[in-house]
């Protein structure tokens, strides 16, 4: 049992766990949508009336608590539930990424995120900082424009067979494929 937990989780167990997360929130009378937190943080910071951020954010505190839990979960996974091995990436991806200047996952400090993007050394160069800033900006802008992120559309929306969520997910993949196949060779 413990051995199963500290190893990387198989896809089917991971998928079931995501469903369990969604159903827990539904049974609590809420819904699974993480990026609403970004809007809530804007509302707390801006405090302006008659804008997109003028809503009763106190009703969204439960989701911020969920966010705090997610940070804690990441910490626990790293500190207590890790077998210390890097991501076992497919050899084809390792090759593709090597051509762009990225080492294998085992060469990175965390084993899960590449040092070529997520070490302070790189993040504080002009190019490195711009990449992280633009990536974040696009995610934050796009998710609110589309009315949800991976949890709100791909999981909750598709589970409820919502056509708008399917359109959003097609958009997620359109953007992801353009970035990976057309823009990565120009950026890296």
């Amino acid at each position: 049992m413990w051995e199963f937990i500290v190893q990387p989780w198989p896809w089917w167990f991971s998928g079931l766990s995501i469903s369990a997360t969604m159903f827990a929130l539904i049974l609590f009378g809420r819904s699974f949508g993480f990026s609403s937190n970004l809007r809530t943080l804007c509302a707390i910071a801006s405090q302006r009336s008659r804008s997109f951020f003028d809503f009763d954010w106190k009703k969204e505190i439960w989701n911020l608590i969920f966010l705090v839990g997610a940070i804690l979960g990441g910490f626990l996974a790293h500190t207590y539930l890790s077998d210390g091995f890097a991501v076992a990436l497919s050899p084809a991806t390792v090759n593709d990424l090597a051509a762009l200047g990225f080492g294998e996952p085992s060469t990175s400090a965390s084993g899960v995120q590449p040092d070529e993007l997520f070490s302070w050394e790189q993040a504080l160069t002009l190019k490195g900082f711009l990449i992280l800033a633009v990536a974040g900006f696009l995610v934050g802008f796009g998710t609110r424009y589309a009315g949800g992120c991976t949890s709100g559309h791909a999981i909750s929306g598709l589970s409820d067979l919502q056509l708008p969520s399917l359109i959003a997910v097609v958009g997620f993949f359109t953007g992801g494929l353009i970035m990976t196949h057309l823009l990565y060779p120009l950026i890296f």
Partner: protein
């Protein structure tokens, strides 16, 4: 105390994002290059099991823990906002290798420069709020 259950479920979510490796930039690259089944298996399982569960909740009219009927809010009709917004999201998702949940899980995991990505995600959401009236929806 009424918030404790959200802390517990959030913590479970954080552990699951880390242990499934779905929060890894490497796994997202593998997915967008169609070079492994892993991410498709995760999302596919979650959606199929999710759809079955939502069907059962609706069919049996299951109530939440407060005794209220569970309602699913239908999304507004539309095309542009979902497709354009989704595409912008996808560009950022592939570039940083993280959607909003995994960003904070990474921060907890000790990948601290991800704080930059998360802060700019908040800035991006703020920019959308400012420009919303001028965008096609």
């Amino acid at each position: 105390m009424r918030f404790l259950k959200y802390l517990i479920v959030g913590t479970f979510f954080g552990i699951l994002m880390a242990k499934s490796e779905a929060f890894s930039w490497y796994r997202i690259q593998e997915m967008f290059r169609f070079q492994a089944f892993h991410m498709y298996g995760i999302i596919g399982t979650a959606v199929v099991v999710g759809a079955l569960g939502v069907f059962v909740i609706k069919k049996l009219k299951i109530k939440d823990i407060h005794g209220k009927p569970i309602e699913f809010q239908p999304k507004e009709r539309g095309f542009y906002r979902y497709f354009i917004g989704g595409t912008l999201f996808g560009l950022g998702w592939a570039l940083g290798g993280s959607c909003p949940g995994p960003m904070v899980v990474s921060i907890g995991y000790g990948v601290l420069p991800m704080i930059i990505v998360f802060l700019f995600a908040v800035v991006g959401t703020f920019a959308y709020g400012e420009l919303r009236d001028r965008l096609p929806h």
